[in-house]
């Protein structure tokens, strides 16, 4: 038998074939099988409803994964996308889409648009419809494609139609009625189902924050001699406010605080915002709010935002765009959060 690779072509081909196959089994197939078999789904995670599963198919068909990730990495940068890093069990119920299609690659490799791990807790249904019809109707700087083929234009809405209140500048004629197709409805059900499930604290992985990642320009508390403690907090909240509003509220209520007619209420001049007592406002942010037939439902942001962020947002909204109302404190937000938690 000739054991020389240079002259024995059969030996050469068999060796490179077997060598690569062995390495592949070790590095890919066995670990994949192990991870698949040893990570059952979380007990409190809701399985996709039949509508949401249909929505996932639309999500894959339209190639949304090209720009949107669904993974919260365990580094501090990703804290804005979820309360905890993603764990293998989060993905356990992600399975093959059918005979013709494989398991969808949801984790993604590009973040041209925001991460969607927790988008169901951030944005409401009404926002999704307008945003899918034309993203620039709610986020002027957005470069996401419009998906008009997921909607129908009608003269009048029929019974059971999901009407989308698109602002006038974004449809052909002001009198057009934009109605969601079933594919759009499924897609929005799917997006709304994307929520990070709670897991016991003990098994939650930590976010890694390397030394060089620590923020330099977070305002340090002033010394106690010159400023009182209340003022220290106020300065901190003042610096947090605009950023938190931009990240959390602006997509619906807009940068000018005027909202979108028929979809999102204005904050500028709003009676709730200008109310002397901030209690109702805190309550709405914590637990959401729905006044059907007038505006889209506001999602409950209690699980998403910290007390500091809520206080900062409230102080910002109450003293911006010409609004003028007394400020609140972190302690007060905490008090109301605790109270509503015990009520439930």
């Amino acid at each position: 038998m000739n054991f020389n690779f240079h002259t024995n072509h059969r030996l050469l081909l068999i060796s490179i074939f077997v060598g690569f196959l062995t390495l592949s089994l070790i590095i890919a197939v066995f670990p994949a099988k192990y991870v698949q078999d040893n990570n059952p789904p979380l007990r409190n995670k809701e399985f996709l409803s039949p509508e949401a599963s249909q929505g996932l198919k639309v999500f894959v068909a339209e190639g949304c994964v090209a720009c949107h990730t669904q993974q919260v990495r365990n580094i501090a940068t990703d804290q804005v996308w979820g309360k905890r890093p993603s764990i293998p069990a989060d993905f356990a119920d992600n399975k093959r889409l059918g005979t013709w299609r494989s398991t969808p690659s949801l984790l993604g490799t590009e973040r041209t648009g925001p991460d969607l791990t927790n988008v169901g807790s951030r944005q409401g249904e009404v926002w999704h419809y307008i945003h899918l019809y034309n993203p620039r109707a709610v986020v002027p700087e957005s470069i996401m494609p419009s998906y008009p083929w997921l909607f129908k234009t009608k003269a009048t809405a029929g019974p059971g139609d999901q009407v989308v209140n698109v602002p006038d500048g974004f449809k052909d004629k002001p009198e057009d009625v934009i109605v969601a197709t079933q594919r759009a409805e499924h897609l929005v059900v799917y997006l709304n189902s994307l929520k990070q499930a709670e897991i016991p604290k003990i098994s939650t992985p930590e976010f890694i924050e390397y030394d060089w990642m620590k923020k330099e320009d977070t305002p340090r508390p002033m010394s106690a001699v010159t400023e009182s403690e209340v003022n220290q907090e106020e300065i901190l909240l003042n610096s947090l406010g605009p950023k938190a509003y931009e990240r959390q509220c602006q997509a619906c209520h807009q940068a000018n605080g005027e909202g979108i007619p028929g979809a999102f209420p204005p904050l500028k001049g709003s009676l709730i915002v200008l109310d002397k007592s901030p209690d109702q406002m805190i309550n709405i942010i914590l637990n959401g709010f729905d006044r059907p037939n007038e505006y889209g439902a506001m999602p409950a942001l209690g699980p998403v935002l910290s007390n500091e962020q809520i206080a900062a947002i409230i102080n910002f909204e109450r003293n911006h765009w010409g609004n003028k109302a007394p400020k609140t404190t972190v302690a007060h937000v905490k008090e109301i959060r605790d109270k509503t938690a015990t009520n439930q």
């Binding site: 690779f5 890919a28 994949a32 068909a61 090209a66 620039r136 320009d217």
Partner: protein, 603 residues
């Protein structure tokens, strides 16, 4: 904000303003090996571009001065010829004008023997255009079986079609970043077209060109005819139909699952795999019937690429271990090996043939090529997971991938050294044609793109660059800078030798420079923009800021992309010109040689 300024400073350093370097290190970003290394690699590409430009420009200048000298001589000759008798006598004196030469004072009267046609074949062509470097005109045609030539040209022609199709779509997608409302047609939307672009340039352009050149390399290095022409045609049809059907399905929203490079559903990929099996069988049978004792190293790479890709595709599409995160592990493995085991391995095999051929000397070290082959198999296979650093897949798997990404430097340095040392002593040949510049740029990007990929796998660089447009820069440096440039080098070497018609050198030059400069604009805009995007996330800015800050870089990308696309149009013009039939007027030299040979045979 401060970090952004520092990063911009660091990037300025890249462009040569050294003293700023020291100021930019407050956060030690540039002290990180991954970042410093990438900056140096970027500088290397620029340096090579500048050196090549200087070589080509100086060649053009020497052509101009040569032309001036010959013009001077011509003028003098003209002057002397037109002297009248009196002036001539005045110039030379009477006695000299009376003497006349017989014409055979030095040579004698016997006829010179020229058995090898050395004197008759001397070329005296003088190029008049100073913009075009002097090239060798006398390209000797390979004596290929015309049916085999046709097969190779069909492969290359299909590749050119998919190149135009795929990069036109890529160019259109790039414009959508600048004008998101370009159209509102479902099948032209970004999400659907993106995989059409990547898959068409992967499985259409690159694969077809590789297989076309591969058929020739296997047959030539085995010194025998290809085993089956029919098999070659079958593979050609299968793969073309796979890409065509796959593209149509993707545009209609039929997507396998969104995993990069496996967006075609399995029946479509099965067509590709069938084509690949046929090619592997055809190559193997040809190698088995070789007329050389040893299997040339090119064939190792080509056999390896075909066999590995078949394993890879099978693993990627089998469902038994792909629920939940199992899918992600397979995706990381697949998307990396798709590039590494198919495109990179196959193309390296081609370079081991075309580089020595076009330099007209053997490869520097055969053993180094074999070392690079085995280390390619070992290291490349293990590093797929570095596409998912910090993701929920097991930390240990991520670490293995990062460590072996360092190991990748071994085959890369072995390969690069081998190629550059083959070049050694023949650098002047760069001036003679564009085949070698294409190959050299491929070699440079082989080193730069791969080494930069290693640096990008580090955890530190992942924090900044992962998910950003930096990935897009990397994939174009590799799939375009390495693969496409190597393939063009091979095509420009081979096709004139098949058809007997060379393209106009000025058009080849236009193709080369537009592709090269376009790529440099493309990669730097995406690298700088991607870095700024990553830093913006690090600073905790709102997400939409990271979108708006990219606007100028996406515009530059569209500009670089346009240059790249136009260069492909020129490539097609060149290909068309090369494939035109040679004018039927019989070549005098050929006829003379034929006559001479007959005479010798008869006598």
């Amino acid at each position: 904000m401060r970090t952004i300024i520092k990063f911009s400073l660091a990037l300025l350093c890249l462009l040569g303003s050294g003293p700023l370097w020291a100021q930019a290190t407050e956060r030690q970003l540039t002290a990180e090996p991954g970042i410093t290394g990438t900056l140096l690699l970027g500088a290397l590409v620029l340096a090579v571009c500048i050196v090549l430009a200087i070589v080509k420009i100086s060649a053009a200048f020497s052509a101009i001065s040569k032309k001036e000298k010959t013009d001077e001589r011509k003028e003098l000759k003209h002057l002397i010829e037109n002297l009248d008798e009196e002036e001539l006598q005045a110039l030379a004196g009477k006695s000299r004008t009376e003497f006349s030469l017989e014409g055979h004072e030095l040579s004698g009267i016997t006829v010179a023997k020229d058995e090898k046609g050395l004197i008759r074949q001397v070329e005296n062509e003088v190029h008049s255009s100073p913009m075009v470097s002097r090239k060798k005109v006398a390209i000797s045609k390979m004596n290929l079986n015309p049916a085999f030539s046709k097969l190779i040209l069909a492969f290359i022609g299909s590749a050119a079609f998919w190149l135009i199709f795929g990069t036109l779509i890529g160019q259109y997608l790039g414009m959508k970043f600048v004008w998101p409302e370009l159209d509102n047609v479902a099948w032209l939307s970004f999400g659907r077209l993106r995989p059409v672009h990547t898959n068409a340039v992967f499985w259409g352009w690159s694969s077809m060109a590789m297989l076309g050149l591969g058929h020739l390399v296997v047959s030539r290095t085995c010194n025998t005819a290809i085993y089956s022409l029919k098999a070659g045609w079958t593979a050609l049809i299968l793969i073309n139909s796979s890409v065509a059907i796959g593209s149509l399905l993707l545009m209609n929203g039929v997507n396998n699952g969104g995993g990069e490079y496996r967006e075609y559903i399995w029946p479509v990929t099965a067509l590709f795999a069938a084509g690949l099996i046929i090619c592997l069988w055809n190559f193997y049978q040809t190698i088995a019937r070789r007329n050389t004792k040893e299997i040339y190293v090119s064939n190792w790479y080509i056999l390896g690429a075909c066999a590995w890709t078949l394993v890879l595709v099978t693993i990627a599409y089998l469902p038994f271990y792909q629920n939940g995160l199992g899918e992600t592990i397979i995706q990381g493995y697949y998307m990396h090996q798709g590039v590494g085991m198919w495109f990179m391995t196959f193309t390296l095999g081609l370079v081991y043939y075309f580089l020595p051929q076009s330099l007209n000397k053997p490869i520097y070290s055969y053993s180094l090529g074999v070392l690079a082959f085995w280390t390619q198999m070992l290291f490349y296979t293990l590093i797929g997971t570095h596409h998912f650093v910090f993701s929920p897949i097991p930390w240990s798997l991520q670490t293995v991938a990062i460590v072996f990404s360092m190991g990748m430097l071994i085959p890369v340095i072995a390969g690069t050294t081998n190629f550059l040392l083959t070049f050694r002593g023949s650098w002047r040949k760069l001036k003679d044609s564009y085949v070698l510049p294409f190959l050299l740029v491929g070699i440079v990007f082989y080193f730069v793109g791969s080494a930069q990929g290693t640096m990008q796998a580090f955890r530190f660089t992942n924090v900044i660059w992962h998910f950003t447009d930096f990935n897009v820069a990397h994939s174009h440096m590799t799939m375009y800078g390495i693969i496409a440039f190597f393939l063009w080098g091979g095509i420009y070497y081979l096709v004139p030798r098949i058809t007997g018609r060379a393209p106009k050198e000025v058009y080849v030059g236009a193709h080369f420079w537009m592709a090269f400069v376009g790529l440099i604009i493309y990669m730097f805009s995406m690298m700088i923009g991607g870095t700024l995007k990553g830093v913006s996330w690090l600073e905790g800015d709102s997400f939409i800021k990271s979108v708006t800050l990219m606007a100028p870089y996406w515009l530059w990308r569209a500009i670089g992309g346009t240059m790249m696309f136009l260069s492909h149009v020129i490539f097609c013009v060149n290909l068309w010109r090369m494939s035109q039939p040679v004018s039927e007027a019989p070549d005098l030299t050929d006829q003379l040689i034929l006559k001479y040979e007959k005479k010798v045979l008869i006598s």
